[in-house]
C-alpha cells in the first residue's frame, strides 16, 4: 500500500513539474527534453494502474518515435531561443492563466468534490492490460477501428511527403 502511495506521489509530482517545465522553457530542445521526462513519468503511472502494455507503447511510440521526430525537426530548422516568451502577449497570458485556473478549479471540484468510492482495482483489471489481453480484443472486437486507423496513417504519410517535398516540377 505505502509503496503505491510513494510511487504515485513521486510520479505525479514529476509529471506536473516536467509539464510546467515544457510550458516555460525558452529553448525548444529543453522543452522537448521535459516532454520526454513527462512521458516516462506517465509510463510509470500506467504501471501503477496495471496497464503494462500501454506503458511500454507509451515509451516506444511517444518518447521513441514522435519525440525523435520533433527533436530532429528542431535541429534541422536550427531554432534559437524565444526572445520574448510572454511580453508581447501579456494580456493573452493573463487570460490563458485565468482560464486555466478556472478549468482546474472546475475539474477538481467535480472530481474531488464527490468521492467516487473507487479505491481498488478490480481483479479483472490485472488481465486486460497485458499484451495477451490487448491482442485478444484488438484483433476481434476492434477489427474495424484497427483497419480504419491504417487509412489515417496512409493519408498522413502521403500528405507529409507531399508537403515536405522540395519543389514541384511544372507538369
Amino acid at each position: 500500500m505505502s509503496t503505491t502511495v510513494i510511487l504515485f506521489t513521486i510520479l505525479s509530482i514529476g509529471a506536473i513539474a516536467s509539464g510546467i517545465s515544457l510550458v516555460t522553457r525558452r529553448n525548444p530542445v529543453s522543452a522537448a527534453m521535459s516532454l520526454i521526462v513527462h512521458f516516462f513519468m506517465l509510463a510509470g503511472l500506467y504501471l501503477t494502474l496495471q496497464a503494462q502494455f500501454v506503458a511500454i507503447i507509451q515509451i516506444l511510440v511517444y518518447a521513441g518515435a514522435i519525440m525523435v521526430l520533433v527533436i530532429f525537426v528542431i535541429m534541422l530548422l536550427n531554432l534559437g531561443k524565444e526572445e520574448n516568451l510572454t511580453e508581447k502577449f501579456s494580456m493573452r497570458t493573463t487570460l490563458a492563466l485565468a482560464l486555466g485556473g478556472l478549468f482546474v478549479v472546475q475539474f477538481l471540484t467535480a472530481f474531488l468534490g464527490k468521492k467516487t468510492g473507487m479505491n481498488a482495482l478490480p481483479e479483472k483489471s490485472m488481465s486486460i492490460g497485458t499484451t495477451e489481453g490487448i491482442g485478444n480484443v484488438l484483433f476481434t472486437q476492434y477489427l474495424f477501428p484497427f483497419e480504419a486507423i491504417s487509412l489515417l496513417l496512409l493519408a498522413a504519410i502521403v500528405g507529409s511527403i507531399l508537403l515536405a517535398k522540395r519543389k514541384h516540377e511544372a507538369s
Partner: protein
C-alpha cells in the same frame, strides 16, 4: 461476417480504392488522367452502393458502425460533393499549375473519413473518422505549398484543429467514465437510467460540444474558418466548407440524440440554442463588411452552421422535424455553397487575383451565364423562394418553433434579413455596376467545371421546386 462486409460495402470499397489509387499514382508517371478517371468512377460506384444499402438498418463489426439508412444517406451526399469538387478541380489545378495526383487520393481518403464519421456507432469510430478527415484537410489546405497564404492557412488549421481534438477526446474520456462505454446505444441507455457520475457526464458533453463546434465552425470556435477558407486553394475550400460541414453535422446529430436523456435540466438544449443564435448573428454580421469574396462566403458558411444548429436544438427537444430539416438543408447547402465556390474558382486568376468583390462588377456583361448561375446560388443561400435554400430554412424554422424556441426563430429571421443585404449586394454588383478598367478581359472557359455548375444549379432549382421528392425519401428512411 460476410453480411458485415456486404452492408459496409460503401466504406470498404472506397477505402480500398483510395489505397489502390495511391499506388497507381506512385507507379505510373503522368498518371493524372488515369487517377482522375479512377476516382470519379470510384465515387460513382460508392454512391450506387450506398443507395443500395439505403434500405437496411443495423450495425456491423460488433456494433462499431451502423450500416444503411442514416449513414448511407450521408455517403451519397459526400460522394456527390467529392465528385463535383473533383470535376471542378481539374481545370483549376491545370491553371494554377499544381500536380493533381495526390489530390485525388487525398480527397478520397477525406471522403472515407467522413463516411466513417457518419456511420459511427461508437465514440472511438467517430474520433478516428474525424481525424482521418481533418488530417486530409490540413494537408489539402496547404496544397499550394509555394504560396505563403496557403501554408499559413494549413498551419493555423492544424494547430487549432489539433487543439480542438484535445477537448474532443477529453470529452469522450469523461463520457466513458460516466457511462462505462463508448458505444452509442449503451451511452443512451446509461443516460436514461443510471449515471455513475452525473457531473462528469455534463463536463464531458460540454467538452465534446466544444470539439464538434470547432469542426462545424460554430461560434465561438469559428475564427479559423475565414482565414483557412481564404488561404486554401479555392476548390479545396469548396470541398471543406460543404462536405466537411455536412460530416460535422452527421456526427453532431447522433451525439445530441444520445446525450439528450441526461439533459434533465435542459442545459444542453439552452446552450445549443444560444450557440445557434450567436453563430448566425456573428456569421452574417461579419460577412457584411468583407471585401474578399472567399471570406464573405466563409462567413456565410458560418452563418449556415447556425441555422443548422436550430435543427440540433429540435433534436435535443425530441422533435423529429429536426432530423428531416437538417438532412434537407444539408442537401440543399451542398449544392448552393459548392456552386458558389466553384464559380469563384473559375474566375480566380493565379496569384490570388480576381478574388475581391469589386472584381465582380459588371460580370453579367463579361460572363452572362456565370453571373446568372451565381445569382441562383446567392438567392438560394439568402433563402429566397423558389430555390432550395428557402425550403431548407422553412423546415428548420418550423422545427424550432414547434420545439418551443420562438425567440431563436425570431433571431434566425432577423439574421436572414441581414444576410440578404450582402447576397443581393453581390448580385447588384454583377448586374448594375460598370466593370472597372483593370478587370480581367480574357475569356476563360470553365471547361469541365461547367458540369459541376450545371448539376448544382439544376439541383438547387429542382430541390426548391419539388422539395417533396427528397422529403419523401427522408420520411421513408427515418419514419418522420
Amino acid at each position: 461476417m460476410e453480411q458485415d462486409f456486404l452492408l459496409s460495402a460503401p466504406i470498404t470499397f472506397l477505402s480500398i480504392m483510395a489505397t489502390i489509387l495511391m499506388v497507381v499514382d506512385a507507379l505510373i508517371k503522368k498518371s493524372s488522367k488515369i487517377t482522375f478517371t479512377l476516382s470519379w468512377l470510384t465515387l460513382g460506384i460508392t454512391g450506387v452502393l450506398a443507395a443500395w444499402t439505403l434500405k437496411h438498418n443495423g450495425t456491423a463489426f460488433n456494433g462499431m458502425i451502423t450500416v444503411g439508412s442514416f449513414g448511407a444517406f450521408f455517403d451519397i451526399l459526400f460522394c456527390m460533393g467529392a465528385l463535383l469538387t473533383l470535376i471542378a478541380a481539374r481545370p483549376y489545378m491545370q491553371r494554377e499549375n499544381l500536380e493533381h495526383d495526390e489530390f485525388h487520393s487525398l480527397i478520397l481518403f477525406a471522403v472515407s473519413g467522413m463516411m466513417i464519421m457518419a456511420h459511427a456507432n461508437s465514440l472511438l469510430i467517430l474520433f478516428i473518422g474525424i481525424e482521418i478527415m481533418s488530417v486530409c484537410f490540413y494537408i489539402l489546405s496547404g496544397y499550394m505549398r509555394s504560396s505563403v497564404r496557403s501554408v499559413e492557412a494549413s498551419l493555423k488549421y492544424f494547430l487549432l484543429g489539433a487543439f480542438a481534438t484535445g477537448f474532443l477526446v477529453y470529452g469522450m474520456a469523461l463520457i466513458y467514465g460516466a457511462t462505462g462505454s463508448f458505444d452509442y446505444n449503451q451511452i443512451f441507455m446509461a443516460a436514461q437510467h443510471e449515471l455513475r457520475f452525473p457531473s462528469l457526464m455534463m463536463i464531458g458533453i460540454g467538452l465534446l460540444l466544444i470539439g464538434l463546434s470547432f469542426k462545424a465552425a460554430a461560434f465561438p470556435f469559428h475564427q479559423w474558418a475565414p482565414d483557412v477558407y481564404q488561404g486554401a486553394p479555392t476548390v479545396v475550400t469548396a470541398f471543406m466548407s460543404t462536405a466537411g460541414k455536412i460530416a460535422a453535422f452527421s456526427a453532431f446529430m447522433p451525439i445530441v440524440a444520445i446525450v439528450s436523456p441526461a439533459d434533465t435540466e435542459m442545459k444542453i438544449q439552452i446552450i445549443l440554442a444560444i450557440i445557434s443564435a450567436a453563430t448566425m448573428l456573428v456569421g452574417n454580421i461579419s460577412a457584411l463588411t468583407q471585401t474578399n469574396i472567399k471570406r464573405m462566403l466563409a462567413y456565410s458558411s458560418v452563418a449556415h452552421a447556425g441555422y443548422l444548429m436550430m435543427g440540433l436544438v429540435a433534436i435535443s427537444a425530441h422533435h423529429a422535424r429536426g432530423v428531416s430539416g437538417i438532412l434537407y438543408y444539408l442537401s440543399a447547402y451542398l449544392f448552393m455553397q459548392l456552386g458558389a465556390f466553384v464559380i469563384v474558382s473559375i474566375l480566380e486568376r493565379s496569384g490570388e487575383k480576381n478574388l475581391e468583390i469589386e472584381d465582380y462588377a459588371g460580370l453579367s456583361k463579361r460572363h452572362p451565364v456565370l453571373a446568372a448561375l451565381m445569382t441562383i446560388f446567392m438567392l438560394s443561400l439568402a433563402g429566397i423562394p423558389p430555390f432550395a435554400g428557402f425550403f431548407g430554412k422553412y423546415y428548420l424554422f418550423t422545427a424550432a418553433i414547434e420545439s418551443g424556441y420562438t425567440w431563436l426563430t425570431i433571431i434566425a429571421v432577423i439574421s436572414s434579413i441581414i444576410s440578404v443585404y450582402f447576397y443581393i449586394g453581390l448580385i447588384v454588383k454583377m448586374y448594375f455596376t460598370e466593370p472597372n478598367e483593370s478587370g480581367e478581359s480574357t475569356q476563360q472557359l470553365p471547361g469541365i467545371a461547367s458540369i459541376t455548375l450545371a448539376v448544382s444549379a439544376v439541383a438547387v432549382v429542382f430541390l426548391g421546386l419539388m422539395p417533396a421528392g427528397l422529403l419523401d425519401v427522408i420520411k421513408l428512411l427515418f419514419g418522420n
